[in-house]
Symmetry: C2
Subunit: 200 residues, 2 copies
């Protein structure tokens, strides 16, 4: 398979890329580094990226940002950071991706445990994640060409645990092997419209 991994150089992305590279052709796109540069907040940038890669079987997105801050400090504009990047960036990836992927291809988006189990400072981040869960369920009813769309929702992963654990009191880290397997399940399984939750 030819697999495009957006955010393939990130904390989770590099483990996912490394795994799929063992048996597949992997191309990496990133905001500032990779085989391709892409700006998720700009649909034309997404379109250019996908137009440049013929015969693509799968897209994995492990990218997109949202602003973390106390509820009383988040401005309306702050909410739109997550809406334009992590939310509509990934929605647009499906909108554009359906025209470029090979039949029976798959698109795997990424959210996180905040959708179901938020912590302080995440009214914006949780909102965006929850939006994507419902979007994926809805788009699976309509996506054509036998394409599949799933979303991976991980708890805090082991490789980011040290940096983020004070935001997640009592949360148990997810091993990188389980994190990678969630993406394998989406790409190599046959599920469509699945929210692949990996929480411990």
């Amino acid at each position: 398979m030819k697999i495009l991994i957006i955010g393939g150089n990130g904390t989770i992305g590099k483990k996912v890329s490394s795994h799929f590279s063992e048996n597949h052709e992997v191309l990496i796109a990133g905001r500032s580094a990779g085989d391709y540069i892409v700006d998720l907040t700009d649909i034309e940038s997404i379109r250019k990226l996908l137009a440049a890669i013929p015969s693509l079987d799968s897209i994995i997105c492990i990218a997109g940002e949202a602003k973390w801050d106390d509820f009383k400090d988040l401005s309306e504009e702050d909410y739109y950071i997550g809406i334009k990047s992590k939310l509509m960036g990934q929605v647009n990836l499906v909108r554009v991706g359906q025209d470029y992927l090979k039949s029976k291809g798959s698109i795997t988006l990424s959210t996180g445990i905040l959708a179901d189990d938020p912590v302080v400072k995440t009214t914006s981040a949780a909102m965006v994640n929850g939006a994507l869960h419902s979007f994926v369920k809805a788009v699976a009813l309509e996506i054509e060409n036998e394409l599949r769309v799933n979303v991976v929702s991980l708890g805090v992963v082991e490789d980011a645990y040290k940096k983020y654990k004070h935001f997640f009191p009592g949360h148990n880290p997810i091993s990188m092997k389980k994190a990678v397997n969630a993406y394998v399940r989406s790409v190599e399984g046959k599920g469509n419209g699945e929210i692949i939750r990996i929480y411990e």
Copy 2:
């Protein structure tokens, strides 16, 4: 209690308003009719509304729109109709409302079954509803002044069933009594961060 019902003249809103009027002081706001006019897409309009009503105990919002259309026909701008109205309109209502409500007051938002169980043409509407479910869980962790924030998520209600049933094959209508009770549970109960799902 003094209760403001935004959308209090709508299909569900008028039943909710009528019920609460039996024992409470109810004020109705709407896009084009009511005791007050408000544009949910404009935070300044929300601020003006709340500034005009002193000593408010509860806000109920049964308003906000999102575009319904086939996934392949929804434009990026179409998604932003729901984002600006039903999603950020209700988020902004909580953001502004926290400054105007009396201590121990409540804010009740509205979504719908699409968040959990979407149908065709609802990638945008489902997305917005799912976003609000996660937002409410997150904001309940941080809201101050002993305020409570809940969201009511109804299946297709009896009074709208005839008009919408062809979009919801096999769905069972929710009685208006159960619909009203969902709002009563939020306003008169003590729950915070609850997603009050009424599906049959």
